[in-house]
């Protein structure tokens, strides 16, 4: 079956090479024409921009003189996301297949596995799978640990860490396809994108599915593989339903957007469809706000986290996100003031699109969607009284 998580139960752990090959056959050979197949497949990356994989491969192929580098991005710095970890720890051969096809087609001299430092089971799964691969394949691969920071998964941050040991984004240009790892043309793909590419090489068509993580106030949190017709309501039902009434859902993780649960219920989780509505599937986290959580305080907490996760390189991001988080914090602790609401709106406009990476943009998308979705709560927030005795 043409699905990422087809095959043995994910609970069984990393799939062996024998099971993987028995199920899917050997990895077919692929030449330069595979880039056409990839372009036609409309597979897009899982960064918020939804960038076409085929376009990225074409750019690297144009620059590669048998010296390209493939970076397998398994940093997964999004706090509530589980999908990349699950894929690495259960379907490592699918990811390696994708990386090795890329290495062949783009005439790469190396493959770098870039895995989050806390993702132990994922790293174990990938290393065990690598040990089962052929000697020429193994000789291509090196590994690098990604620090547990939100920005560590950004393409230029991964390359910066591999080159200089610092996981902070860099100014583009030069773009990775021009000068990346060791100054070589570099392709960075999320592990799920590589797994999709491995299925495409075998079946001639993409699976048409995405991995999403259902988080927050649902009965069964976890990872689901959904097709493009599956709605927000469907995945909440698949996750056992909400615990009580739900005011809102956060679609696409911390760089995503809030929406009223009722309004979003019939919304399909289709990357293109969401983008046309100004939303983003992004990392694929669907976060359900618990009925007993105050939206304003929840937003203030996440803004505080995202301000702290700025890599402190660009002034508008470092100072701007801090100021925005502080304003949210004041409203949360002391109650609504008209001045702070005006500041939030003004600063959000000032900060957007003014960083070397997308950290400020993602954070502003999150905040502006919160200001719209939770407009009544932000307009009239009062400090919560803490009970001294139970």
């Amino acid at each position: 079956m043409n699905r990422l998580l087809a095959g043995p139960s994910p609970a069984a752990g990393a799939e062996s090479a024998a099971s993987h090959i028995g199920r899917l056959g050997r990895l077919p050979d692929a030449g330069p024409h595979f880039i056409d197949t990839l372009t036609q497949s409309r597979i897009v990356g899982r960064g918020g921009a939804g960038f076409a994989a085929g376009t990225k491969w074409r750019a690297v192929a144009t620059h590669s003189r048998d010296n390209a580098v493939i970076v397998v991005n398994g940093a997964e710095g999004e706090p509530q996301s589980q999908k990349d970890r699950l894929l690495m720890s259960t379907r490592p051969h699918l990811i390696l297949d994708g990386a090795f096809i890329a290495a062949r087609v783009l005439r790469a001299r190396g493959v770098m596995l870039y895995i989050g430092e806390r993702h132990t089971a994922a790293r174990d799964g990938m290393m065990r799978a690598l040990a089962e691969r052929s000697e020429p394949e193994r000789a291509l691969v090196a590994t690098q640990t990604a620090p547990a920071r939100y920005v560590a998964g950004a393409e230029s941050a991964a390359i910066h860490l591999i080159n200089e040991g610092v996981a902070t984004p860099t100014t583009m240009p030069p773009f990775p396809f021009e000068r990346g790892v060791d100054g070589m043309p570099t392709l960075v793909h999320n592990v799920e994108t590589l797994a999709q590419i491995a299925l495409l090489a075998r079946h001639g068509a993409p699976s048409g599915t995405s991995l999403i993580t259902v988080a927050g106030a649902v009965a069964k949190k976890g990872v689901l593989e959904v097709d493009s017709e599956t709605t927000v309501g469907d995945v909440i039902k698949l996750a056992g339903g909400t615990e009580g009434w739900s005011r809102a859902v956060l679609i696409g993780g911390y760089f995503g957007a809030w929406a009223d649960t009722a309004a979003a219920w019939d919304l399909p989780l289709d990357a293109t469809g969401l983008r046309n509505r100004g939303l983003s599937l992004g990392c694929g986290v669907i976060g359900v706000l618990a009925s007993n959580r105050c939206p304003v305080c929840e937003v203030a907490g996440i803004m505080h986290y995202l301000a702290n996760e700025s890599s402190a390189q660009c002034g508008p991001c470092f100072f701007g996100l801090r100021a925005l988080a502080d304003a949210c914090g004041r409203i949360s602790e002391k109650g609504t003031s008209r001045e702070d609401i005006a500041r939030l709106n003004r600063w959000a406009e000032q900060v957007r699109a003014r960083g070397a990476c997308r950290h400020p943009d993602g954070t502003i998308m999150f905040l502006q969607s919160a200001l719209v979705t939770f407009a009544p709560e932000f307009a009239d927030h009062r400090p919560h009284v803490t009970k001294l005795a139970a």
């Binding site: 960064g47 390189q313 002034g315 701007g320």
Partner: protein, 76 residues
């Protein structure tokens, strides 16, 4: 030849000294923390020499003049 130019700032290099906004207030204003916000429109012809001056006078060399049509590509 009709070529459109814009000012581009390297956000990592920029220290928010604000000299560019003093030289070229028609194109550059400062945000609440002193960092430049640059107009997206092409630089008017009569300001091009001042824009060049702003590029040269930036103490951290964070400003550049770029062709407006150079498409930006990005993604992950």
């Amino acid at each position: 030849m009709n070529r459109n130019f814009v000012l581009a700032v390297d956000r990592i290099k920029c220290d928010g000294r604000g000299i560019c906004a003093e030289l070229l207030p028609e194109v550059i204003r400062l945000d609440d923390w002193g960092y430049p916000i640059i107009a997206e429109d092409p630089i008017p012809d009569h300001l091009l020499s001042l824009a060049q001056r702003a590029v040269e006078d930036c103490p951290v060399l964070a400003l550049a003049i770029r062709r407006a049509d150079k498409a930006k590509t990005n993604g992950n």
